[in-house]
């Protein structure tokens, strides 16, 4: 005869067993999860975690559709009083921020956001912070490294960091044209910083790119001329 309460003990034991198996299976899955989750290393803010949790598995799609909206705003800005309507510009940034929360590998959103913060809103510190976040999440992105180098150079006058980012952009450049752009930028940054020898060294690298030999020669001659004419 079964003692009173025994079936409940049995059920409780089975449920506890299931829960232990569930936790064990989750541990097994977690060991491989980073391999299929390219967002595993992204340090999300609390706000980003909340937003991402609420939209669940549709976050990638939502980011894509928000980008369509950004594209529409960007290309159809209204002109009032002979100038672009500033509220249209301002509407872009929250969308861009949301996109990067939903998909931290959305390089175009980081590139556009950094550029707009610097060039349209005159907020270079925020722009470089935004670029740096994008670079941290996408270290091989030419657009972000190159864009950050521009802002460090022209807005923040932080020549060492600008040159470092431009050199990194040259390293990850997808083709010769992009490599030339990055090296051109690095050479100009170094020249602005007064490092003529460094600039000449970079122009020599440009000279090794097929089709850019003549450009490199002209710039090297100009830089060497300025060095010899200096008292």
């Amino acid at each position: 005869m079964t003692a009173p309460g025994t079936p409940w003990v049995r059920h409780a034991a089975i449920i506890a067993g299931f829960l232990a198996c569930l936790a064990g299976a989750q541990v097994l899955v977690d060991a491989y999860r980073p391999l299929v989750n390219d967002e595993a290393d992204v340090p999300f803010s609390v706000a980003a975690v909340v937003v991402r949790s609420f939209v669940g598995q549709v976050r990638g799609l939502l980011a894509d559709f928000l980008w369509l909206r950004v594209d529409e705003y960007q290309h159809r800005r209204r002109i009032v009083g002979g100038d672009l309507l500033r509220s249209d510009d301002e509407a872009l940034m929250p969308l861009v921020r949301l996109i990067t929360w939903l998909n931290p590998h959305f390089v175009d959103a980081y590139a556009l956001g950094g550029q707009w913060l610097a060039f349209h809103f005159d907020r270079p510190i925020e722009a470089t912070a935004f670029y740096e976040e994008g670079i941290q999440n996408n270290p091989q992105s030419f657009d972000l490294l190159n864009g950050a180098a521009w802002v460090y150079w022209r807005f923040r006058h932080d020549y060492p960091t600008a040159a470092k980012r431009a050199a990194e952009a040259a390293r990850v450049a997808p083709d010769d044209i992009h490599k030339f752009q990055a090296l051109w930028l690095e050479a100009h940054i170094l020249a602005s910083a007064g490092d003529t020898s460094g600039a000449i060294r970079v122009w020599r690298q440009v000279g090794q790119i097929p089709g850019y030999e003549r450009t490199a020669e002209v710039w090297i001659a100009r830089l060497e001329g300025s060095r010899t004419s200096r008292p």
Binding site: L28, S53, G60
Partner: protein
């Protein structure tokens, strides 16, 4: 024989799914959305294929989830509400066989619903050279596992509630599974108590984690989903399914009609 009884119930669920028209209409609608997204051309080369894969996987997820909830939440409770359960239980069938049969039939019907959408996805990946078809199939398989787990949860809840309550509570479990990430992060930030931190960890390990079945970003960005991950996630799904079917069967056994 046990397996034949389960198979009979499963076949009946499949036939009913086709007869009710709701699922075929959902499948047609999903296929239409995927097909129309394949012809979007306002993205630059490369981005377009990624966008298509993202849309297709999301459509499979959304329509699969909807089909699962519609199909499963009306299985047990629908039989009870329409009183056909008396006819069924008067036959030589045990209650747990009915629960398992309903589950098997439902996951088979959902696989049939999802298959045409996966086929369209695979076709366009092939024609647009948009990456590996195998990886897309693996991701779809994981989504199907998620639907199987959701089916087990919905059946478990339907064993003691009405259809609408079963569907609503299943959605709630689904949403909570995603929100727990936010909750555990928030708890870890605001609380300095170790007990709260342990509670957050316990929530993470003991509540269903549907994010395990999401490998969409890997597929969209042409990364390989390891077979070992598939195996471990299958094991995770099996444990969850067994747990909720056990709960559902036990509650249904105790229920009086």
């Amino acid at each position: 024989m046990i397996s034949s009884v389960v198979a009979v119930v499963a076949r009946q669920v499949l036939q009913e799914a086709g007869r009710r028209r709701t699922l075929p209409v959902l499948v047609l609608f999903g296929c239409g959305v995927i097909l129309s997204s394949a012809f979007l051309s306002f993205f630059q080369l490369g981005v377009e294929v990624k966008f298509f894969k993202d849309v297709a996987m999301t459509v499979i997820f959304l329509f699969g989830t909807t089909s699962t909830l519609i199909l499963v939440s009306t299985q047990l409770s629908g039989e009870i509400e329409s009183r056909t359960i008396y006819n069924v239980l008067s036959k030589p069938i045990r209650r747990w066989e009915l629960v398992v049969g309903k589950f098997v039939g439902a996951v088979a019907a959902i696989a049939l619903c999802v298959a045409p959408m996966v086929a369209i996805l695979a076709f366009f990946i092939y024609t647009d050279r948009g990456g590996s078809i195998l990886e897309a199939v693996k991701a779809s398989y994981l989504l199907w596992l998620a639907f199987a787990v959701l089916s087990a949860i919905a059946l478990g809840i339907a064993s003691f509630s009405t259809s609408i309550v079963a569907a609503s509570l299943s959605v709630l479990v689904f949403v909570v599974s995603y929100l727990k990430g936010a909750v555990t992060t928030y708890v870890a930030l605001v609380s300095r108590s170790p007990a709260t931190a342990y509670l957050g960890q316990a929530l993470y390990y003991l509540l269903p984690n549907f994010e395990n079945f999401n490998v969409r970003t890997a597929v969209v960005h042409d990364r390989i989903v390891p077979w070992a991950y598939l195996g471990r996630t299958t094991l995770y799904a099996l444990v969850l399914v067994a747990f909720f079917l056990y709960l559902g069967a036990q509650i249904f056994e105790e229920r009086e009609f």
